[in-house]
């Protein structure tokens, strides 16, 4: 499935989802090859989701959740971060670069940051491949 190179963004709908919709209203679109998976809350992120994304050919996975303390469901964003860390350790053990999995805190008021993170990741991971 080598030709299925893509980036998967797993995003809390309350923060990242709002920021994306703001960008879309302004005419911005996700770059080709970026798949957006919206979660009801960072707390619903399962380690399995991340592993399956890599299995399905993701070159990189970006997890976006609210700032800690701003999560509507209390600890959702903390759990998301912990799960990302656990998978990063696992990736290191099996020899996959840890920077293929990123975690970031985001607020609904951060559409510009969202765009720049996604574009930077896209340049870093997908653009040079170009084959």
């Amino acid at each position: 499935m080598g030709d299925h190179q893509k980036i998967v963004v797993m995003a809390c709908k309350h923060s990242a989802g709002e920021a994306l919709r703001e960008l879309q209203r302004e005419g911005w679109a996700l770059p080709d090859g970026v798949e957006w998976v919206e979660l009801p809350c960072g707390g619903s992120l399962d380690e399995l989701h991340i592993l399956r994304a890599f299995e399905a050919g993701a070159a990189a996975v970006l997890v976006l959740a609210c700032y800690h303390g701003a999560c509507r469901s209390l600890d959702g964003s903390r759990w998301a971060e912990k799960r990302v860390q656990a998978i990063q350790e696992m990736l290191a053990e099996i020899g996959i670069e840890q920077d293929r999995l990123e975690f970031r805190n985001i607020a609904p008021t951060m559409p510009a940051d969202l765009a720049s993170w996604v574009e930077a990741l896209h340049r870093r991971v997908l653009a040079p491949a170009g084959e």
């Binding site: 309350h14 798949e35 998976v37 919206e38 979660l39 009801p40 809350c41 707390g43 619903s44 992120l45 399962d46 399995l48 989701h49 399956r52 994304a53 299995e55 399905a56 303390g69 701003a70 999560c71 509507r72 469901s73 209390l74 600890d75 959702g76 759990w79 799960r83 607020a107 609904p108």
Partner: protein, 387 residues
């Protein structure tokens, strides 16, 4: 599967505070049936209506059910009392005390609290007024700590009343008047016009003598006949117990903590259908507490106004045949929406999510060790299933 469940427009209001009274009044005006319950006496302020039932001196000892069909269990005059309501507004207020340790002073004939002055002013004439007539009164705010908004506001009123009604000479000592409430600047101006002297201090030196009190500060020393100190507020003693019964959270400061929501939504607790109004969850003065109560009533009406409730678009569903009753979901649900129950039709005991109480955050599903919980309504790409 998201079908509307009819619910009664019936609300429990807990507490005897003025914001509780405001909420009751507003709910009645909107056509709700209101059950007004307090652990203390209830104010007799003419709120009477066939749609209102009042119960004073009740202790809540258990809460069952969820939004739309809460059942609150009280002890009332030695009897058990069970009240069914669709929503609950907690408006229990706060508790006042005299922080003797913080001030390093005991109350005496020369040192009064703002509440003592207020009580005295409520007494019949002439003793109410004569107690302060032509006296010089030193009101000292923000001493060794910040005075709560509620007490600052009351101190303003007292200063005005003492000046006008009692012809007292009032010195109003302050450190930083947080003029963050609309109207305070104007109130300060009005009081100045009435003759109140405002003195800003850094580190005041307070002396209580045999017959007089004095405050020394940067600009000199002011002697007076009476030192008035505002009380402090703290969460009521029963707050923690109440939070446990209601399964809602307390903040680090010991007050009820509302749900984190970007667009401020009045008094939402983490639990659907339970709301906080006024001084049990925020530092505010009485009038702000009452406007908070109005916003909370608006939020309750937004929830129940249609007489029916619908689940969120995404909610959790437990497959009872997979559940191993480990209670992980019960413990992790931030919104107290899961319980272990008996499924009579299937003859099993397993976790069950209340579909109206569930916020759909998915914390239970990602924590369940045997993947017994599915997020119904959540669209996920096929590869998540390993396809």
């Amino acid at each position: 599967m998201s079908q509307a469940t009819p619910v009664a427009k019936q609300v429990l209001v807990l507490g005897a505070s003025s914001e509780a009274a405001r909420a009751v009044k507003e709910l009645l005006a909107l056509g709700y049936k209101v059950l007004w319950v307090s652990g203390d006496e209830l104010p007799s302020n003419g709120l009477d209506s066939p749609a209102l039932a009042k119960y004073a001196n009740c202790r809540l000892y258990a809460l069952e059910g969820h939004v739309g069909r809460f059942v609150s269990h009280f002890l009332h005059q030695g009897q058990r009392l069970a009240l069914s309501t669709s929503a609950i507004i907690v408006a229990t207020g706060n508790e006042r005390y005299f922080p003797a340790e913080r001030y390093g002073l005991e109350l005496s004939s020369l040192v009064w609290t703002t509440s003592q002055v207020k009580e005295q002013l409520k007494k019949p004439l002439p003793q109410s007024v004569l107690a302060f007539r032509d006296k010089r009164i030193l009101l000292l705010l923000d001493w060794s700590g910040e005075t709560s908004k509620e007490l600052v506001s009351e101190s303003f009123s007292l200063a005005g009343e003492l000046c006008e009604r009692c012809r007292s000479e009032v010195y109003f000592f302050y450190r930083d008047l947080t003029v963050d409430s609309p109207g305070w600047e104007q109130r300060t101006r009005e009081l100045r016009d009435k003759g109140v002297v405002f003195c800003r201090y850094g580190e005041p030196e307070v002396t209580v003598g045999e017959a007089a009190v004095s405050i020394s500060y940067l600009e000199g020393t002011v002697e007076g006949d009476l030192l008035v100190l505002p009380e402090a507020v703290r969460p009521r003693g029963d707050t923690a117990e109440l939070a446990e019964i209601l399964q809602v959270r307390l903040g680090e400061d010991g007050y009820f903590q509302e749900l984190n929501i970007r667009k401020y939504r009045a008094g939402l607790s983490a639990r659907k259908g339970i709301f906080f109004a006024g001084r049990c969850h925020m530092d505010c003065d009485a009038s702000e507490a009452e406007s908070d109560a109005l916003q909370v009533v608006a939020a309750v009406d937004a929830l129940l106004g249609q007489g029916a409730l619908e689940p969120e678009e995404v909610i959790a569903y437990v497959d009872p045949s997979k559940c191993i009753r480990c209670l992980t979901c019960v413990r992790t649900c931030p919104h107290a929406a899961v319980q272990v129950v008996e499924y009579e039709d299937m003859d099993v005991v397993a976790a069950r999510v209340d579909e109206l109480a569930c916020w759909g955050c998915g914390a239970c599903a990602s924590n369940c060790p045997v993947q017994a919980i599915e997020m119904v309504g959540q669209e996920m790409p096929a590869w998540v299933q390993g396809v």
